[in-house]
């Protein structure tokens, strides 16, 4: 097959160059030039202006909180699922992919109906004589939207990593006298690291860069870095500034990629 691989790979190599490499090059070109085409770093240093810095800081904060919540919710869940019978494997994956068949914007909008002052959740809370929650159009609602949308991307890699752990290894640890806590921290947790890293990447990056969730659940007042970039492209038409800010955003994404390359060499933590 070796002789054939050159021309067999041609379509995909060509496709990746035209639609992946060159477009990324375009961002760097626009981000590092001004409207006259002269080289400048202004679009990058623009991140330091008060407005942009605030947006980036808020994005980082909310996405880190969401990632942490996703991890804390997903890990016990993945452990429970991984201990179930093997025949349910595809069914479990299905449960988490199925919601994607309802439009993502509508699903997020539905949280408005659920969270509103006189919404579904508050009606239930009133009925149970519990205090109402009032988080719509606040950063809390954005975090909830992020956790809701990206939780499956944390659960699936964790589930994959945990269900691959050989039960004999765990049994061996028990036989050798390790308690549940000891087994968890010395055996299960280290063996699930590829899944953890992959899950963190898959939640953190979309959460950091979203502009939709903040638009739908945060009212129009809360600006994340994604909103700022989106507005530069669709409303302000300042592609140079938008590209410059995207480059800043990519620094965080690349740091994340490096981390996942270091910890997950064989790509074991995939969601499939």
């Amino acid at each position: 097959m070796t002789s054939k691989s050159k021309w067999l790979s041609a379509p995909y190599v060509l496709w990746s160059v035209v639609f992946i490499i060159i477009p990324l090059g375009m961002i760097f070109y626009y981000g590092l030039t001004d409207k006259t085409g002269a080289f400048t770093l202004e679009n990058i240093t623009a991140i330091m202006t008060a407005e942009h810095r605030k947006a980036l800081w808020l994005s980082l904060l909310l996405s880190l909180i969401s990632t942490l919540i996703c991890f804390l919710l997903a890990y016990p869940l993945a452990m429970i699922l991984a201990n179930m019978k093997v025949s349910q494997h595809s069914f479990i994956i299905l449960i988490f992919i199925l919601p994607m068949w309802m439009n993502f914007l509508l699903r997020t909008l539905a949280w408005q109906t659920l969270l509103e002052k006189s919404g579904v959740i508050n009606s239930v809370l009133t009925f149970l004589h519990l205090p109402n929650i009032n988080i719509i159009n606040t950063p809390y609602a954005i975090v909830l939207g992020m956790v809701y949308n990206f939780l499956p991307f944390m659960v699936l890699p964790l589930y994959n990593a945990l269900s691959k752990i050989d039960e004999n290894v765990i049994n061996a640890a028990r036989d050798l006298g390790a308690g549940s806590v000891h087994t968890f921290f010395r055996i299960i947790l280290p063996l699930s690291v590829p899944g953890i890293i992959s899950g963190i990447t898959m939640v953190f990056v979309p959460a950091l860069t979203t502009f939709v969730i903040s638009t739908l659940l945060g009212g129009s007042k809360i600006l994340l870095i994604g909103n700022v970039i989106e507005q530069e492209f669709t409303q302000a038409s300042n592609w140079h500034l938008g590209s410059g800010l995207s480059i800043v955003l990519m620094i965080f994404i690349i740091l994340n990629m490096i981390a996942s390359a270091v910890f997950d060499k064989d790509g074991e933590g995939g969601i499939l």
Partner: protein, 263 residues
């Protein structure tokens, strides 16, 4: 006791994931036009849906783009996997690294990078640009689900087929393809789902006048979502649900399950 706690936990997560979906389904039967109050049960949105040309057009666009882009991505991705299996280790890891870029990169960055490409090279924004973008972000899903299957293949069977007089084409379709099929199918389904659910990349690469369901919903957010949208998404969701139940209970579905188990 521990078992009960586990079940409660799963149930809570399940409610969290599916509460918005149930909400949307309920809203599709709501006679009142606003989301905020319940105006009684009605089926009128389901009948007016099919008279709404805008929504029907967006639906056709969405489905066409999802079908064509996932098919194209499946063909390109599968061929790429076959090609990569014959490559040197280093070349392959470079190519796989590039493949990972659209997966790991933020959708907004992928979206604007493609937008800048299309602008710079004078593409006319519309159906075509959306399609090219969707193929681009769909290929990695195909490659990532076919590649593990490719690694499990025994190259001697292919060579044996050639020795026994099969042409390259026959050997591929009779020997390699059947082994790859489960991976190809799951890659295709994943790509189709991602294409259908995409908003961000479409938002940046669509032109004026062309809409998919996602972009249509986004423009309606400020004016208020038309209740027909809830009806349509309920129909889509229930259709998929029924199809999946059918596939999983049909006799052919069992083979599929067995294949998944092996992965």
């Amino acid at each position: 006791m521990r078992n009960a706690a586990r079940k409660v936990y799963i149930a809570l997560i399940f409610i969290f994931l599916y509460a918005p979906i149930v909400t949307l389904m309920v809203l599709s039967f709501n006679a009142s036009k606003t989301r905020a109050k319940w105006g009684g049960f009605t089926l009128k949105w389901y009948s007016s849906l099919f008279q709404n040309r805008d929504i029907m057009e967006a639906l056709v666009n969405t489905l066409l783009i999802a079908v064509i882009s996932s098919l194209a991505a499946t063909v390109i991705g599968t061929i790429a996997c076959v090609a990569m299996s014959g490559m040197k280790r280093r070349t392959r890891s470079v190519l796989l690294g590039v493949t990972n870029i659209p997966m790991l990169n933020a959708d907004i960055v992928t979206g604007i990078s493609l937008m800048l490409l299309f602008i710079s090279f004078g593409f006319r924004f519309g159906f075509g640009t959306i399609l090219l973008s969707h193929i681009t972000f769909n290929i990695p899903y195909v490659i990532l689900s076919v590649m593990p299957r490719m690694k499990q293949l025994n190259p001697s069977t292919y060579e044996a087929a050639l020795d026994l007089g099969a042409s390259h084409m026959t050997a591929f379709f009779k020997v390699i393809f059947p082994d790859l099929l489960p991976g190809i199918l799951s890659g295709f389904l994943m790509a189709f789902t991602m294409s259908l659910d995409d908003f961000i990349i479409t938002h940046f690469t669509k032109g004026a006048g062309v809409d998919t369901l996602s972009t249509k919903i986004y423009t309606e957010v400020k004016k208020g979502i038309k209740p027909e949208m809830y009806a349509l998404s309920t129909i889509i969701f229930v259709t998929v649900l029924l199809l999946l139940i059918l596939v999983n209970t049909a006799p052919g579905g069992k083979n599929d399950n067995k294949d998944n188990k092996e992965q």
